[in-house]
Subunit: 337 residues, 2 copies
């Protein structure tokens, strides 16, 4: 597969590579006639620009990399769409990469993108990631990078976050106000800042309403539906039946709910459920699941904007944190009639 280069075009037209290059880059110092001629013959010859060479001399790629842990749930896809909207408008391309919740591939992805493939990075950490040294070094080296949603408090860098504490508290309070007293929290993966914040909201809601609360009411697991199912089965086996469950995401809530339903419990009469990060699926199940809706699209947009600002500013930027709010969508799964 022989590539056509601007040299070939120049030779054919008996001109110089400079002229050909000028034609492609909308430079002013070229006559309209020759420009047209170059463009025409380039097309005829099947010329395709070599971005590697171009990027090499220009030292920028107009690519932005996005690293997410997964996209089987619609959460990250929606964030990505938000980011794309901003980035496309500014002429950037978006390269997405998926870590599969695995720290090693996450690192490989980042390194691959970071090495002059992209001008900046949007990243949400995998649930496995617990070592942030590499990222901190990268940030310190001046590489433009924005963390969103899944991140660590300790990282000193720009972030776009959801106000997990506040909305976890709201969600819990909603349950308390409905009269539920023995509420359990499925916190998912313990180590993530986001989990800690949601748990803190859960606990503080209890304090605020002077409700007793015991450590055993918070249960750690993964983030998948299967985890929710397992926990529910365990609770039923131990015969410790909560009257409400607040889960750190919809998957956990739905998993648990389906098991409880299968065992004859009525939702929300016997046991109520509230999820988090509203998923489309949540509103389709029976009964529809109450959940905290995150502004996914907006998260993506904000992160992209922050990144572009940072790229513009060069080394002279200061880390910024944007914290966004959402809504609590109350549905049947948590409504005492």
């Amino acid at each position: 597969m022989k590539y056509i280069t601007i040299k070939d075009i120049a030779k054919k037209l008996n001109t110089s590579v400079s002229t050909v290059s000028r034609a492609f880059n909308d430079k002013s110092d070229i006559s309209a006639k020759t420009k047209e001629l170059v463009l025409k013959t380039a097309k005829e010859m099947g010329y395709r620009q070599n971005r590697m060479a171009k990027n090499l001399v220009q030292k920028r790629t107009y690519n932005i990399g996005i690293v997410v842990p997964e996209f089987v749930n619609s959460f990250f896809p929606e964030v990505i769409m938000g980011a794309q909207e901003v980035l496309f408008k500014k002429g950037y391309q978006v390269l997405i990469t998926q870590s599969n919740e695995c720290y090693t591939t996450e690192l490989k992805n980042v390194q691959s993108l970071e090495n002059s493939m992209v001008d900046g990075l949007l990243i949400s950490l995998s649930s496995e990631t617990d070592n942030i040294d590499y990222y901190q070094d990268l940030v310190n080296s001046g590489f433009p990078i924005i963390f969103f949603n899944r991140t660590y408090k300790e990282i000193k860098a720009s972030k776009v976050l959801f106000n997990d504490y506040k909305w976890a508290m709201f969600a819990t309070e909603h349950l308390i106000r409905q009269g539920y007293k023995n509420i359990y929290h499925l916190q998912g993966i313990k180590s993530l800042t986001l989990s800690k914040e949601r748990r803190r909201g859960f606990v503080d809601a209890h304090k605020k309403h002077k409700l007793t609360y015991d450590k055993s009411q918070v249960i750690t697991s993964g983030f998948h539906m299967e985890d929710g199912e397992k926990i529910a089965a365990q609770l039923i086996e131990n015969n410790t039946i909560p009257d409400a469950i607040f889960a750190a995401n919809d998957q956990l809530a739905m998993g648990a709910m389906s098991v409880f339903k299968k065992h004859g419990f009525k939702v929300p009469k016997d046991i109520a459920f509230v999820g988090f990060s509203e998923s489309k699926m949540g509103s389709m199940v029976e009964p529809p699941l109450s959940s905290v809706k995150q502004p996914t699209f907006e998260i993506g947009k904000q992160a992209a904007k922050l990144l572009l600002d940072q790229i513009e500013a060069g080394t002279k930027h200061t880390p910024q944190t944007v914290k966004l709010d959402g809504e609590l969508h109350i549905r049947e799964s948590s409504l005492k009639k």
Copy 2:
């Protein structure tokens, strides 16, 4: 932000760039001692390899691009995971790009990747794409590219497809055998080969069982849940109530089902539903939705393998088509008791 290059390292160590390069590339003609020294100081100096330069001289990137129309549904994410598994093992990186069902951005994505960003491409066309000239040219130029799922019969290139005809026929026959006689087909977007194949299966099942069939039983729309809802509302308004619906995907089926349910129809007693491309959501709704399960993971793996073969073979490859089979998962939504 000043980048450290191998020249800087060479200067510091009073050696040549060749030696430094050798150290990084596991070449044999370098002593273990100097290699270690180079690697150590490189790390100290914060060296990061410039992939642009490397790729430029090597004329390959070890990147594979994937272009999908969307990933809000889990179908494409699962395919991607399958592809990643194969590609990672062979040392390739994966760059994903999303067209948002828009031909223009699809083309932009492809062009951006094609221009020496990747060694090959895996692509599933957007629903809007109806001009395949660009792709055919690309294939003819020798660029390694595999089409999967959403493609056109007319494109002469390697493909990984699902046996849509066969399984649409199975699904329809299942309904017929259950005793349903007035079956409608929601075919989604008409122009896609995949839609045509599924419709052909639907029609031929009728022929095979000597069931009368009228053109009005096939309804065209988009592929989203909202489209299913609209169609159902329309059918109800016109008072043309099918006794079963076979939809080209789960979203359409679920959309329609929810509207029928809202209007008091009992599923599957009054009206049955079968979807396609089984989604996780389908098994969570009430009643659980029957659907044809596609081997998403396997599709990704096969496509990746085909692509790697093609890259190996260089220009000397012949287009190949792999057609995969699935399973019909029968659930309550189509089970006459």
